[in-house]
């Protein structure tokens, strides 16, 4: 049984921020796409004033997403590192499974079978 004693705070923070960025971009694409399908492309994009207005709002949302992702990821990792010492870490059984082992040649197999 292995225990997850400590996680790297900065890595968690970066990953959370990364997935926030991806989520926001997907949401923005869907938002504009739905507006386009509904014939409200102008409203979806230019409803914010102009294309640059839409860009500014998207940039602001992205900035908030990055900062909140960094904060949330770091906070969770830091609290896990702190509290797992008190309440116990995650415990998991891990086993090694070799991969991509080349199959033995047919003549070797036949030799093994004969022996």
């Amino acid at each position: 049984m292995y225990t997850v004693q400590r996680v790297y705070i900065w890595n968690w923070a970066k990953l959370c921020a990364l997935f926030n960025i991806i989520g926001i971009l997907i949401y923005a694409v869907i938002f504009v796409f739905i507006g386009f399908l509904g014939g409200n492309f102008d409203l979806a994009v230019f409803g914010h004033g102009s294309l640059s207005g839409f860009g500014v709002i998207l940039a602001m949302v992205l900035l908030i997403g990055i900062l909140s992702g960094l904060g949330f990821g770091a906070l969770i990792a830091a609290i896990y590192n702190g509290l797992s010492k008190v309440f116990g870490p995650i415990e998991v059984e891990i086993s090694f499974e070799p991969e991509n082992i080349p199959e033995a040649a047919p003549e070797v197999n036949s030799q093994i079978q004969q022996t």
């Binding site: 996680v7 790297y8 890595n11 116990g88 995650i90």
Partner: protein, 213 residues
């Protein structure tokens, strides 16, 4: 390739509770800030309208600071408790079902600092396990949602016949259950695939593993 054979159920519950603890602060703050609106929505205006009285605009009184703090605290505790229970359920279901459907497989890399980096998740092994778990958890959640909505909306909405009401509830249940499962599978596959693709640029999940006999 390493396979995650079994999680100690209670340890996962505790880790989930930590996430609930952080998330609950934000959730509790949201409830704290919006509680006055919730209180207003619950006001029964019917007697005032039927009696011909005009509803004063300031009828909804904002709950006091102590009440809102109490709600904040209760919401926070509820988040922690819910996360703890969900962690236990997820871990127990994983331990049980992965025996039949295969374990989650990961590639681990020991770095120079003596920590392990999860460099790669086998996407199918993750998706398959989480999908099966979500089908079970989603079934329970959606049944509860439908029961709640039948009780809640059934008291207010008038349908042509009760059959229409229950058929539409069944339809909503199937859409909610299978739709959320499909969305969950898609999202999990996307996140796992993106992790494998992008974590090399921003850094892999890095953990210190200890051995417990």
């Amino acid at each position: 390739m390493y396979s995650l054979d079994r999680f100690k159920v209670l340890s996962v519950g505790k880790a989930f509770a930590i996430v609930g603890l952080v998330g609950g602060i934000f959730g509790g703050l949201w409830v704290f800030l919006t509680f006055s609106n919730v209180a207003c929505m619950q006001v029964d205006v019917q007697p005032y309208q039927t009696s011909g009285l005009t509803l004063a605009p300031d009828y909804c009184s904002t709950p006091g600071l102590a009440t809102r703090l109490l709600v904040l605290f209760i919401a926070w505790l509820a988040c922690i408790a819910l996360a703890f229970v969900m962690g236990i359920i997820y871990a127990a279901l994983y331990n049980w079902l992965s025996e039949y459907f295969g374990k989650i497989k990961v590639r681990l890399n020991l770095n120079q600092k003596g920590a392990y980096e999860i460099t790669h998740f086998q996407v199918w092994s993750v998706v398959k396990n989480l999908a099966i778990i979500w089908l079970i958890v989603g079934l329970i959640v959606n049944v509860l949602v439908i029961i709640f909505s039948i009780n809640f909306f059934g008291a207010f909405l008038s349908f042509g016949s009760s059959n229409v009401f229950y058929e539409s509830s069944l339809f909503a249940f199937l859409i909610g259950w299978l739709g959320s499962a499909i969305a969950f599978v898609g999202l999990t596959a996307l996140i796992t695939w993106l992790y494998n693709l992008l974590s090399r640029f921003v850094g892999h999940i890095t953990i210190h593993l200890g051995v417990k006999s």
